[in-house]
């Protein structure tokens, strides 16, 4: 009878499984889970290993001195990297349009006239159709008085553009009803002496004329060629409540692709170059053409290029392999978008620009595992496990499938899908017992990054959003959860959650500092999980399935941190159902959920 502990050093977590091995079999005692210390597969892992071993032994009555063997996995380092490249850019020239959609415009309707500076209003003649442009800093009472005076003189005031947030104040004080757009920070750059149109829709509605190419044609009396030239302005102004268009000589808005750097994908027989700017679909299609990929590199000076280079350098450092020998094992490109300020905008307009997120992964089969085993042995002996022997266990994928097969209801042929932080790994254990593995880039960290980018929040907030459901504080005493139900509180909620969307995190309510609705944030969260994990589940399974036919796979067991997610397992199961695949979150040893598979497998393989 010997007391053993199986230890799995992962990228993010180190898990341990304590057991007594007797003649009759294995008696499992306890498990432990701690954050991995240092990069997986390096001697820095020792602290985490010690903590995990202690945790696994805690529930039993046995302690370190009784420990005889520790089985560690062949923890080969995996370095993952993540970068994002913005691939479109919106540019307004000649300040020809204003489309920032301020929250409190004034008046309503469409007004067309010639732009006149506030200071020159006195010089306007009666009957002149005027759009007055008012600088920042002039008091609303002064503005209203001057506009009323001009109106009384007979000036045909048709609309106003203000620098201050004063549209409603002015509209409430002047004797006519005109559309007023305000909060135009750079109002001093509005071209003067040109025909302009101001349109404000009723509350809750959107503009109809300036967002229609033919509406612009009607307003500015354009011919067909001029209409064609101005149609991007109409498209840029759809879906908002107010806008201003100034008929400048050659002003336009362009939503153009920006050069985002070339990606070079090397296959066995050919190399493909593709501009990141072509988007995720094109990049993944290029990847498919060179699969199996031998290496990848990006253009110097780009985010993607820098990331790929640094991922290789990291691996060279950590594994001791020559930099020239390090190869990118897999890439995943995902289309996303990022809010960016529009160049040439007069009011801080923000557009959702297209972007491409790229995850990359480097693996190696080399690793200083012997040194790690030695260091573990020294540490444990120092701590009292005088007899302990540290043995490097079998191939990680074999251990994972062995552990996964302790999930009730499973049998070979089985695929284990390990949904981690940096990569998604699949291991197939076929009927004969043979194991094959596949590793693809893109996992939990990429999901978090997409959420952060698309909502415009920091990564720690995005991680919270990923992991827990949402709610909105409807009063200080109740939250409305994303499923529509209500949760009441005895004591008032803290001031910072007032009217905010919050994440129902395990410990606290985390307010999200954005204007989006619960449903919008939920949608971003779910599609991020879909675009990474459903895509990668299918990618990995297609590579590993016998004859590349998913129908040959009977059972898929989900393991890893991201298998704890409250949505990811069902998204994957739904995607795999049409192939007749039984897919679900693992339940290692009928009790551990998706955790401890490798650690348990290590123990089982020695019993």
């Amino acid at each position: 009878m010997s007391l053993v502990v199986g230890v799995d050093i992962g990228n993010s977590t180190t898990e341990a499984c304590a057991a007594l091995i007797t003649a009759e079999g294995v008696e499992f005692l306890g498990s432990g889970l701690v954050p991995t210390t240092g990069i997986k597969g390096t001697t820095a892992n020792v602290d985490g290993v010690e903590a995990a071993v202690r945790a696994a032994l805690r529930t039993s009555r046995l302690a370190l001195p009784a420990l005889q063997r520790v089985f560690v996995n062949e923890a080969t380092p995996v370095i993952s990297g993540l970068a994002m490249e913005t691939i479109t850019e919106t540019l307004i020239t000649e300040s020809t349009m204003i489309g920032h959609d301020p929250r409190t415009p004034g008046g309503a309707g469409l007004g067309v006239g010639v732009t006149v500076a506030f200071g020159e209003l006195d010089e306007c003649s009666p009957g002149e159709k005027v759009i007055v442009v008012v600088p920042v800093g002039i008091d609303f009472a002064v503005v209203s008085k001057a506009l009323n005076a001009a109106l009384e003189r007979g000036v045909d005031l048709r609309g106003a553009v203000l620098g201050n947030d004063d549209a409603v104040l002015v509209a409430n004080r002047i004797s006519c009803s005109i559309p007023i757009v305000d909060e135009v920070r750079l109002v001093s750059s509005v071209p003067l002496g040109m025909t302009a149109a101001v349109e404000v829709a009723a509350p809750g509605r959107t503009i109809r004329t300036l967002s229609n190419a033919y509406g612009l044609a009607t307003v500015f009396e354009l011919n067909a060629d001029q209409t064609r030239a101005v149609s991007p302005v109409a498209r840029a102004l759809t879906g908002i409540r107010s806008a201003v268009v100034v008929r400048t000589p050659s002003g336009e808005v362009s939503d153009r692709h920006i050069p985002a750097g070339t990606l070079e994908l090397g296959g066995e027989t050919s190399t493909v170059r593709i501009d990141v700017g072509e988007g995720a679909e094109a990049i993944m299609a290029a990847l498919a053409r060179v699969t199996p990929m031998k290496d990848a590199s990006g253009e110097a000076g780009t985010n993607v290029g820098g990331m790929l280079a640094s991922v290789k350098e990291n691996m060279a450092d950590v594994s001791g392999v020559d930099l020239a020998e390090v190869r990118i094992g897999d890439l995943l490109a995902v289309d996303t978008f990022v809010p960016q300020e529009v160049r040439g905008g007069l009011a801080g307009e923000v557009a959702l620009e297209n972007a491409v997120a790229l995850a990359a992964m480097v693996r190696t089969s080399h690793g200083p595992m012997q040194q790690v085993a030695l260091a573990i042995s020294q540490r444990l002996r120092r701590e009292g496990a005088a007899e302990v022997e540290v043995v490097i266990g079998g191939v990680e994928a074999e251990m994972a499938t062995r552990g996964a097969l302790t999930t009730p209801g499973t049998d070979r042929p089985l695929v284990v899908l390990d949904l981690g932080g940096g990569s998604t790994d699949a291991a197939l254990a076929d009927r004969s017992g043979a194991i094959s593995t596949v590793h693809v880039a893109g996992a939990g960290d990429l999901v978090t990054r997409l959420i952060a980018s698309e909502l415009g929040v920091e990564r720690d907030v995005a991680e919270e959003i990923k992991q827990s459901p949402l709610a909105k504080a409807e009063s200080f005493f109740h939250l409305r959860l994303e499923d529509g139900t209500v949760q009441f509180f005895e004591e008032p909620l803290p001031p910072e959650v007032f009217a905010r969307v919050v994440v129902l995190s395990t410990d606290a309510l985390v307010p999200i500092p954005v204007r989006h609705s619960v449903d919008r944030i939920r949608q971003v969260r779910r599609t991020a999980k879909q675009r990474v994990f459903v895509v990668n589940a299918l990618r990995a399974l297609k590579q590993i399935a016998p004859y590349r036919d998913l129908r040959q796979i009977g059972f898929v067991v989900l393991l890893g941190g991201s298998a704890l997610d409250f949505e990811i397992p069902e998204l994957i199961a739904d995607a795999l159902a049409p192939y007749g695949i039984v897919c679900g979150t693992g339940n290692v040893r009928g009790s551990e959920g998706p955790r401890n598979a490798v650690a348990s497998g290590l123990v089982l393989s020695r019993s």
Partner: protein, 184 residues
């Protein structure tokens, strides 16, 4: 330069409509004092706060508190009288607070404790943010500068103004609703 007169309308009552913010002014406001610690006229303070509220399409009611010179108590009283549950409190020297009826009295939605830093733009922003809270939105809190020199430089004057305001208290007098009248 405008003069601000607070014409008493009657006892301050709880409002029914949810689209209102109540602004509570301290006992010395526009009566004994006519400007803040850094000489911003009280007429401008009220004008800017009301403008911030009006621009958001929300109504405002103004009350004057007689029995308290405690900012949190005033602001919380305003919040409890307000149909939206949102209230603003302003002391004669300029210190301000945005409060909500369900919060503990010593808490607040936004607090502006450094009276020397209160400019007309800040008062406008206070009105705007209070109105947005009343509409169930969650605005970015008004950025508050932190001037380490403000404290020592103005401390004595602030203390004097506070003492004076306390002398004006009328024990037990209920808050009154006022109509702010600006005359040039």
């Amino acid at each position: 330069m405008n003069v601000l007169e607070l014409r008493e309308i009657g006892r301050a009552e709880k409002g029914a409509r949810p689209d209102e913010v109540v602004l509570a002014l301290s006992p010395g406001f526009a009566t004994f004092f006519t400007k803040t610690i850094v000489d911003v006229p009280h007429s401008e303070v009220v004008r800017q706060i009301l403008a911030g509220i009006e621009e958001q399409g929300v109504q405002a009611r103004v009350i004057q508190v007689k029995a308290r010179a405690d900012l949190a108590a005033m602001a919380h009283t305003a919040a409890r009288l307000s149909g939206s549950g949102i209230g603003i409190g302003v002391l004669a020297r300029g210190t301000s607070m945005i409060h909500q009826k369900d919060l503990p009295r010593l808490s607040s939605l936004e607090l502006f404790p450094q009276s020397p830093l209160m400019t007309p733009e800040v008062f406008r922003a206070i009105g705007r943010n209070a109105a947005q809270y009343a509409k169930g939105e969650s605005p970015q809190p008004v950025p508050t500068l932190n001037d380490q020199m403000a404290r020592p430089r103005w401390q004595a004057k602030a203390a004097l103004l506070h003492l004076k305001e306390c002398e004006l208290l009328v024990k037990g007098a209920p808050p009154v609703e006022v109509e702010p009248v600006l005359t040039a």
